[in-house]
Amino acid sequence: MSTTENNRKPNVETNATSSATSSATSSAASSAKANATSAANIKTEKFRKKSKLKQGGLKLLLADIIGLGSALIIFVIPFLFILVNSLKDRRGANKMSLAMPETFEWGNYLEVIKTNNYMVITAFKNSAMITVGAVVVLIITASMAGYIMQRRRDKVTTWANAIIMIGLMVPPAILPTIWVLQFLHIYKSMFSIIMLEVAINTPFTIMLYRGFMNTIPLELEESGFIDGCSKIRMFTNIVFPLLKPVTATVVILNAVTIFNDFVNPLYFFPGNKNATIQLTLYNFMGQFSSSYNMLFADVIIIVVPMLILFLIFNKRIVEGMVAGAVKG
């Protein structure tokens, strides 16, 4: 499972192109042998190669066009559909067509934001607090745990690892969780939803950190200990800075997951004051059932932060998701 991880590192793009050209070069190599034996063959070989290339070029162009075309239709039109309809008036949007709006109703966005006493703003604030809070706690706790679980191999860490792995597969039990939260008197609090998001994302995050610790040589720590470094300073000053690349992955993956989370806030953070950004959409589904322009404007408001994130960190996100998934 983890084997692909390391092999992948050397430049991904060049690998792809070399696989395509490799067949061409090897056939060239075999044809070179033939050329040596009879000079007469040279011309025909060359000719054949040329025509082959031309044919390949045409095929490629066709593949490019078809590929890009269908990707645009299948993966872009839904977003375009939402965007144009979010800018129409109520009647126009309810036709649900892909036509451009007759007049651009930018006011829709303002109206959505104002709805229910600026619910969207509250929700954005809540979502941001939950996301930032949970990610920060996750980075601190999971990096420490991953560090120890990789470096120290004994009964305790083996057990800890086994328990953590359960969390990768099993969904959280809803009502017993509420029961625990009520017992602790923290139900419906910002603190409880942050801790829940931390708990739910802990297994995956520890796994990422533990996997990355594998690649960090022990020598640094050994010489640090000889110089009299304390256990805590060893981690904060030497190990943690080395974990930077995987910390970036952890931040992006968890931020996307937690920001997009719908189920956990629905159960564990109920109430209008506690709305999160995904829940506004759910609330508006009833309220705006006959004005799709408003509903779609809210969808766009939700999608835009992710789009910005994607445009900036495109490569990092894709790599991080693969690393996470392949490890999982």
Binding site: R8, E13, S22, G56, A63, A145, W179, I200, T202, F262
Partner: protein, 284 residues
């Protein structure tokens, strides 16, 4: 020596949070599933909740639908993503662009995508039916037809999940040693043969990841169902997770917890052995 250098205290914060917020509820769910309870009182009823779950048609349809959902979404993703990954690792020049387009849905929340497709699947005005109308096909009631609704949701789920599956495959295919292809070319293997005898078997680790990830995701699915149909029409698209929510909202806490436990058992009985089996074959 090691024990002195690597203090177990470092494990404590993570473990405490995980234990209190996850392990305690999970373990206690087994007990709560055997009771009729709310936050004030509790009455032990044995296996009554489970008997009810299996005998009532509006409850056991959730088990059936969950299995259909998990099997079909993971199966479709494994096949389609493989084909897409082959295409996107070929020599075409627009592949970076296509990859970005395919990948983006993965970042958008399921609830937003579910809502978008619900609008596009509108029986009379929806975009999909309009497109079908252009080539002379009749309108289809994607989400209103009890026989079809679940499959419409499954297709939407595949649309969203294809991205990550494809990216995993691409990483796997690119990590295959190029010398295999070169050796095969020298022996005169055609592109088709190389695909069948090199790419297909050697991309097995990625295939296993995709399969396990989407199977577990399928058993746990909730957002997509909730955004698109809310379990309807009738109970036609109810899955375990949506039944857990409905029973919770109706105040039947015991039944709701039993739904959670059944989900856990399904994962333990199906996903866990599946993973074991796949990785054993991978090592062999």
């Amino acid at each position: 020596m090691d024990k002195k250098k690597y203090s177990l205290w470092f494990l404590a914060p993570s473990m405490i949070i995980f234990f209190v917020m996850f392990i305690v509820p999970t373990v206690s769910s087994f007990y709560f599933s055997l009771t009729v309870w709310n936050f004030d009182s509790i009455k032990f009823t044995g296996l009554d909740n489970f008997k009810m779950f299996f005998s009532e048609s509006h409850l056991n349809i959730g088990i059936k639908n969950t299995l259909i959902y998990a099997v079909l979404t993971s199966g479709l993703k494994v096949i389609l993503a493989f084909l897409l990954a082959i295409f996107l690792t070929s020599a075409i020049r627009t592949k970076t662009m296509i990859r970005s387009l395919v990948f983006f849905p993965n970042l958008v929340s399921t609830i937003a995508i579910g809502l978008t497709f619900k609008a596009m699947m509108h029986p009379t005005k929806g975009l999909i039916n309009s497109a079908l109308g252009l080539i002379g096909l009749p309108n289809i009631d994607w989400l209103g037809n009890t026989d079809l609704a679940l499959y419409s949701i499954i297709l939407t789920d595949v649309w969203k999940g294809l991205s990550i599956a494809t990216v995993i495959y691409i990483a796997g295919i690119q990590s295959i040693d190029k010398t295999y292809y070169e050796a095969a070319s020298i022996d005169g293997a055609s592109g088709w043969h190389k695909l069948l005898h090199i790419t297909l078997p050697l991309s097995r680790p990625s295939r296993n990841s995709v399969l396990i990830l989407s199977f577990i995701g399928g058993i746990r699915t909730f957002d997509m169902i909730w955004a698109m149909t809310g379990g309807g029409p009738g109970f036609a698209t109810d899955v375990l997770a949506s039944i857990v929510y409905k029973q919770y909202a109706a105040g039947f806490y015991g039944l709701s917890t039993a739904g959670n436990v059944i989900m856990l058992i399904l994962i333990a009985l199906l996903a866990f052995p599946l993973q074991r089996y796949l990785y054993k074959r991978e090592e062999a």
